[in-house]
């Protein structure tokens, strides 16, 4: 069996560059009928992606090349021009916002990678105490809407009124923190998106064949060397995917730069784009042009990632049961526990505390440490106002419904695309992969209006229903789920499918009986991510919700735009609690699956 790892003397252990990936199905062993079936399959996926991705992106491009709303005033080829691009590229403010975005999101991604990966290793591969609790708590930032995260950290880290500075002043310390700064935003982005890296890398670490590390240890490699030369290279697809995902998601986030960058007059592309859409009159066409520039930046990153991944094989799941064994750290396990506790204090406890204070406090004016502990300032009034609002319960029900619809439809589609791309050698699969990555490059604030332009004319009663929201969410987050699923699929050795065929199972039977069960942690992680992202998604919802399909993200924005931070925080607490319960269920599902992760008999 090819383990996918080459060992050479005392040198580094590296992925085998020439290992044949698992692309032997359909095209390789089929007759004319099967070939037509395969082409039909590919054409179907391509058609779905065209409708979900290329059509709205096309409308966005047309919007960027015109000065009018393409649905309202139509467009002619003769009217298309690059005037918007010329205006945008001649504007030094755009360059300034672009540089700020790249620096802050780059720094945030590096930090997220360090934190997320360390956390994944601690939770999955060590005997650190209470790691199940740590794992659950470490995911919490993922469920906090970006807007609320920004507000929470501004409550904590404002140079004038931040709770941290109130504490420092109360202790007589002159030093002050300032989160209204580039370093402040990098820190918040880093800790806020570390769970993305954690989710991907933890799934990869769980799926990795432990025998590879054992081989390294037998050959004399120490723990650190095994980590850096075997473990990390083998989960490189997950690391790169999660870094790319984090970076592109950060590029499209509005809430954190709005709360922390705006007071410091530090514009990022998203805050600049948002400003374009809310100025009077709104400049959607200019915003579309800025979005196209952002797409170009991300496209370069996607290309680099794919180039990096094409250099080696990352197969780690083979035809042998996997029983991940915890690394015995001895006394060092208390060090890792300490690290985890400090991380959780900073990432979970502090912002949660800020949110709880904001949600239970009638007003957020806290002039001294004593005022923070004044019980008279606290009440349930924000929660009362929240639930007195008739739209609150409607928005919760609608969001859960649309989240489930999105997770199911998106999960199936992502698995189909991921499988086709990573496990077959059908012609055109690379194009499928590339197209499915496109939405990652478009800021949510702009793609929403592109969905509206593209789909409002659809016949039938789709517009104004939850289904059109689900459709938009599937399209918007397909890169994220495809990456999650593909990372898991790339780790499954082809011999397992070949064994299944030899035993007489067809393609569908093999996929459902062998591949899907093995990739299930990644699929569940992808669907959970999709569910979570759908519930938080604002950009597409803003233009597609109707009076009867209000969702939580829009309702939250309405409270925020109403200047009511107390009710906004109360609603955030409700959302976090709700998502925490749902995530615990999904986590349980994934864990249950892990126990039976050995290959089923075929």
């Amino acid at each position: 069996m090819n383990s996918g790892v080459e060992q050479g003397g005392g040198g580094p252990l590296v992925p085998v560059a020439g290992a044949e990936p698992a692309r032997r199905m359909w095209g390789a062993r089929s007759g004319a009928g099967s070939r037509w079936l395969a082409r039909l399959w590919l054409a179907s996926l391509a058609a779905i992606l065209c409708f979900l991705v290329l059509y709205p992106v096309g409308m966005l491009l047309i919007g960027a090349l015109t000065t009018a709303n393409p649905v309202v005033e139509g467009y002619r080829l003769a009217d298309l021009s690059i005037a918007n691009f010329a205006a945008v590229t001649a504007n030094p403010n755009v360059y300034s916002a672009l540089v700020n975005s790249l620096a802050i999101c780059g720094g945030g991604t590096a930090l997220a990678m360090m934190i997320g990966l360390t956390f994944a290793w601690i939770v999955v591969r060590t005997d650190t105490p209470w790691k199940a609790v740590i794992a659950g708590a470490g995911m919490l930032p993922l469920f906090v809407p970006a807007l609320v995260a920004g507000v929470a950290w501004s409550i904590l880290g404002s140079p004038r009124t931040g709770l941290l500075n109130t504490f420092l002043a109360g202790l007589g310390i002159a030093w002050r923190v300032d989160f209204y700064s580039m370093s402040g935003m990098i820190l918040v982005f880093g800790i806020y998106y570390a769970p993305y890296v954690y989710m991907f890398t933890a799934a990869a670490l769980r799926n990795m064949d432990r025998s590879l590390e054992e081989s390294a240890e037998i050959c004399g490699a120490g723990a650190f060397r095994t980590l850096t030369t075997v473990t990390l290279p083998l989960i490189l697809p997950a690391i790169l995917s999660s870094m790319l995902l984090s970076f592109t998601v950060m590029l499209g986030i509005y809430g954190i730069p709005a709360a922390l960058g705006t007071p410091a007059n530090l514009p990022l592309l998203t805050t600049y784009i948002y400003a374009l859409t809310v100025w009077s009159p709104p400049l959607y066409n200019t915003a579309a042009a800025v979005a196209v520039i952002l797409m170009a930046v991300t496209a370069v990153l996607v290309y680099l990632q794919q180039k990096a991944l094409s250099r080696g094989s990352f197969t780690t799941i083979a035809g042998k049961a996997v029983h991940p064994r915890a690394l015995r750290l001895g006394p060092w396990r208390f060090f890792t526990l300490g690290f985890a506790i400090v991380y959780l204090l900073i990432v979970v406890a502090l912002p949660s505390l800020a949110l709880l204070v904001a949600s239970f406090r009638r007003f957020l004016f806290i002039h001294s440490l004593a005022a923070l502990f004044d019980a008279r300032a606290y009440s349930l009034v924000n929660f009362q106002r929240l639930f007195e609002n008739p739209l609150t319960l409607d928005s919760i029900t609608n969001s859960l419904e649309v989240g489930a619809m999105t997770a199911c439809c998106g999960g199936v589609l992502s698995f189909a695309i991921g499988y086709t791309v990573t496990r077959t050698k059908l012609q055109g699969r690379s194009l499928l992969d590339a197209v499915s990555t496109v939405p990652a490059a478009i800021p949510g604030l702009v793609i929403g209006v592109a969905y509206l332009w593209a789909w409002i004319g659809l016949p039938g009663g789709l517009y104004g229903t939850l289904w059109i929201l689900a459709l938009a969410f599937v399209a918007r987050f397909i890169p994220d789920t495809v990456k999650a699923v593909s990372s898991s699929l790339m780790q499954i050795h082809p011999e397992l499918e070949e064994a299944s065929w030899l035993c007489g199972r067809g393609v569908l039977g093999t996929v459902l009986g062998v591949v899907l069960p093995l990739a299930r942690p990644g699929v569940i992680a992808g669907m959970t991510l999709l569910f979570t992202l759908s519930i938080r998604e604002l950009g597409s919802s803003l233009f597609l919700f109707s009076g009867s399909t209000m969702v939580m993200s829009v309702h939250l924005l309405n409270f925020f735009e109403g200047g009511n931070i107390g009710v906004t925080a109360a609603f955030s607490v409700v959302q976090v609690a709700l998502l925490g319960v749902l995530l615990a269920g999904a986590n349980r599902l994934a864990r249950g699956q892990l126990k039976g992760n050995a290959v089923r008999p075929v």
């Binding site: 403010n93 004038r160 809310v278 409002i456 104004g464 109403g562 200047g563 009511n564």
Partner: protein
């Protein structure tokens, strides 16, 4: 159809009426109860529902709808709330696709609504003649709300608050103590900055900008920053800060003596409305003295009725005066003055 283009004389007469209404009335009589015609009531009852598209803050509009439903519980109102620019884009796109679901569209920027007035049907409330002429930008669009600007301050932080707009130029309020909403944020802010330049002087912006105010994208986050103490003083719409003060926030609010800039909403019924009678009943009620009194007393909005039924708390009709922009002049000056404001305040658009 009502003729809208006003002569300068008519406009001055209109302003005189406003000044009279603000200064001349010693007290406000209770607003007469709104009485719709039986035919309109029956027709609205038969329709039984209404879809409202609005740019008003969600909690404020829901309080208004609760009051409307207290009078007319048989009309179920669905609300779609978006910020100004997003709402206009949504309305235009839905209308072009033949899928505009709104029975009423309610927007804070009259100029943007004027651009799409063709989408709306003719409508006038029973008390149409009682409205200030220069607040009527179209015979199809009506000023359901009229928010006015005030100076608000954090009463825990500011012991010597500014009393006038000119005070906001004093160096003692410098170093980022003042928060300002950016000029291009929308129609209400444009009204204020137009007032500043026309009434307070050509160099007012330069003097005020010299205090280095902190800029905010809109009034809501600025009001939150004020309560938290991020900034100490801010020009803000009274209807944003008054509800917070009512609930006990550490705020002081005053109406400067130089004048209170007041802008007005533009609200209309689309030609494609499915529930026209419910829409008319709602607008008739909102625009009636009863409806105007409700929004003034509950939310702190002004009314552009020639004889308003009430004034916001703290506004003394004997000494305070409101300022309403002339619509045509406002349109003429908009782009150039906004560019000037951006330059003076160093805001990068």
């Amino acid at each position: 159809m009502m003729r809208l283009r006003m002569t300068r004389r008519e406009w001055l007469a209109s302003m005189a009426a406003l000044a009279y209404s603000a200064r001349g009335r010693p007290a406000f009589a209770a607003a007469a109860a709104f009485k719709p015609t039986p035919a309109l009531l029956d027709a609205a009852r038969a329709e039984g529902r209404l879809m409202l598209y609005t740019a008003e803050f969600i909690e404020v509009i829901q309080e208004t709808l609760a009051a409307f439903n207290k009078r007319f519980p048989f009309v179920k109102v669905d609300v779609l709330r978006l910020s100004g620019g997003q709402l206009i884009t949504r309305v235009q796109t839905e209308a072009a696709a033949g899928k505009l679901a709104a029975d009423v569209v309610d927007h804070s920027d009259a100029a943007l609504m004027k651009r799409i007035e063709d989408l709306f049907q003719d409508y006038a409330p029973p008390n149409a003649r009682d409205y200030t002429r220069n607040a009527l930008v179209s015979p199809k669009l009506w000023p359901t709300l009229a928010p006015g600007w005030s100076i608000a301050y954090n009463s825990e932080l500011v012991k010597n608050p500014p009393r006038t707009w000119m005070d906001l130029c004093k160096p003692e309020y410098g170093d980022g103590q003042i928060g300002q909403v950016i000029g291009p944020s929308g129609g209400t802010t444009w009204c204020r900055i137009m007032f500043e330049r026309q009434v307070l002087g050509e160099n007012y912006w330069a003097k005020q900008a010299a205090t280095k105010p902190r800029l905010y994208p809109s009034g809501a986050p600025l009001s939150d920053a004020l309560v938290r103490g991020e900034v100490a003083i801010a020009p803000l719409l009274y209807d944003i800060v008054y509800p917070k003060k009512k609930e006990g926030a550490p705020l002081g609010i005053l109406f400067p003596k130089e004048g209170v800039p007041v802008s007005y909403y533009a609200t209309g019924i689309p030609k494609t409305a499915k529930n026209v009678n419910a829409a008319r009943l709602y607008l008739d009620w909102v625009l009636s003295p009863e409806g105007q009194e409700f929004s003034t007393v509950q939310h702190g909005d002004f009314s552009v009725l020639i004889s308003p039924p009430a004034a916001p708390q703290g506004f003394d009709p004997k000494t305070d005066k409101i300022w309403v922009p002339e619509f045509n002049k406002s349109q003429e000056l908009h782009d150039k003055w906004l560019a000037d404001w951006n330059r003076v305040y160093g805001y990068r658009q």
